[in-house]
Amino acid sequence: MSAPQDVVVSRRWFLDRMASISSAAAAGALLPASASGAVRARGAGVESLPLEAYRGPVREGVQADPTEASLAETIALVRRGALHPETLVEAYVDRIERFDGALKAYADRPSRSSLLAEARRVPAEGPQAALLGACLAPKDNFYTADLLTEGGSRVFEGFQPDYDATVVATMRAAGGLMVGKAQMGNLAGGRAQVYGTTTPTTRNAWTPDDDRYSPGGSSSGTATAVAARLAVAGLGTQTGGSVIGPGNRQGLTCIKPTFGRVSLHGVIPLSYTRDHVGTMARDVLDAAILLQVIAHPDPNDPRTLGLPGAPNFVRAATPFPGPGPAVRWPTRIGLWPGYLDQEDPAANALRQALVDRLGRTGNVQIVPEIRLPDQWEELTAPPLGGSHGDPTAFFVEHLRRDVRAFGDRLPRFLNGMLQSADTYVKVQQARMLLLHRMQTQLFTQCDVVLIEGTGPFDGTGLPVLGMPIGTVMDEEAGREVPAGATVAALPFGEERLLAVAAAWQAVTDHHRVRPPDPVG
């Protein structure tokens, strides 16, 4: 059994790498050819998936409704000839046409006929068949040559790129079908809204008849599409919790990998140093399969170059064979201070059940309450834990054109104009200090940690995974809604996170519970 990558990659090297990325941002990283499309993205590094991706059992009854099949089940069925990509497309488009009027998950969609034509061209074998017609929902900040890319904002209203983001091109090259561009919070902040207003659009799939309960932001539409079976899986982006947040609110399993694992070329940027692409799926194996497809170096994004190659995420996400449930590698799981001390007794009970179950899992040692690194509060709270200058630098021309287009997000984009140079330098220094202490003080106590918010892990580029742990009653919505757990790891610790989630999902069914369909 080979060691997971988090123990073989130099922590000093990652610090050095992130410091270089910070310097690159200050040295003039530009909006990557956003308007000109001068550099054309190509599918990067499409390879055959590990065989584990196709070997999983397929649940009975899934073929009767292919939208119920997970991504792993879908590609297993297509590979065996038991399901055709055209049938998949018909099933998904039927559901989208029936329910998206209520759920409002999508901003733009291709026609049924064009999707069917694409489905007919999906090859049956080889690297170009890794995703075998899987119906996917990228967030609306990924460039798509055939669909609008508006970033959930009036700022980009009507924007039609002339090329695909690298990850979109990669998924297409692997046989994936983009069934729509998923709605998102205004310029990757908050929940999706009618442009120029604060009126919500996308609904949480678990409260389809009530827009008061948030779908989470900013990858709202992708989360709703995947949870409501309007897509089998999707991509979000995370600068401050925007993949894990909506995923946890909608019962999904999502992973935001280490900074640089996945190309950001052709993604509307928010921060050169904090943006991440993450996969959003119905279970851990699906999240790993999609990550395996898109985690490649991209010549168009220098942040992805020179990193350790992607390990076998799919294997890490499969249950570890043995007499009982076990995590694939010996793993110390730390608990954030106060993790089991929530105000809501129901939420607390779910967390307690998670910790108890993991504690009885092979290869696991629970570290009851980790100690936070020195000066945690100062280093993680604004201003030192912030990133004010980052979005401003990308959007000056848009700000000069008309500030009203930014709606309620205007302060986030203007604030960089006010932050002094000495504060900006101090923020960069503090971030490196935080990353150093997280590696030398936090992750010396444990290998992964159950956390509350993702902010400090986004700012330092560390991998994070969210997974469902049950449902709780939301009093306002009057419905059961999902609760999730969030786990973080060292740089390149994705395998470890996937292995923990795989052990949890091997003995629980929370990831198989689906929300109700909208009425009418």
């Binding site: 700000l399 000069r400 009203r404 309620d408 203007l414 006010l418 490196m432």
Partner: protein, 89 residues
């Protein structure tokens, strides 16, 4: 000469507002198109300035945070420079 603990009086909200609006104008950004005060609007001038003042005052927190000027992060060892120089000859 003041000691470090004796700081000049803090600027007032009005003084900061003038600074903020001047700064935006200098950079060619016109915020006067926003409504003055309209809680129903996605953004108005009152909220924008309130947020901006907070950001400016956070600079004081950053300035007060001391990082040892002699502190440095551990670097990869052995350093990669030798190899790079050979390759690049």
């Amino acid at each position: 000469m003041r000691t470090p603990s004796e700081r000049p009086p803090e600027p007032t909200d009005e003084e900061l507002d003038r600074y903020i609006l001047t700064r935006y104008a200098l950079l060619g950004i016109d915020v006067s198109v926003l409504p003055e005060s309209d809680p129903e609007a996605p953004m108005d001038l009152v909220r924008l300035l309130e947020n901006a003042r907070e950001i400016l005052r956070q600079d004081v927190v950053a300035a007060d945070f001391e990082i040892d000027p002699q502190f440095h992060l551990p670097v990869p060892y052995p350093a990669p420079f030798t190899r790079w120089t050979e390759d690049d000859r």
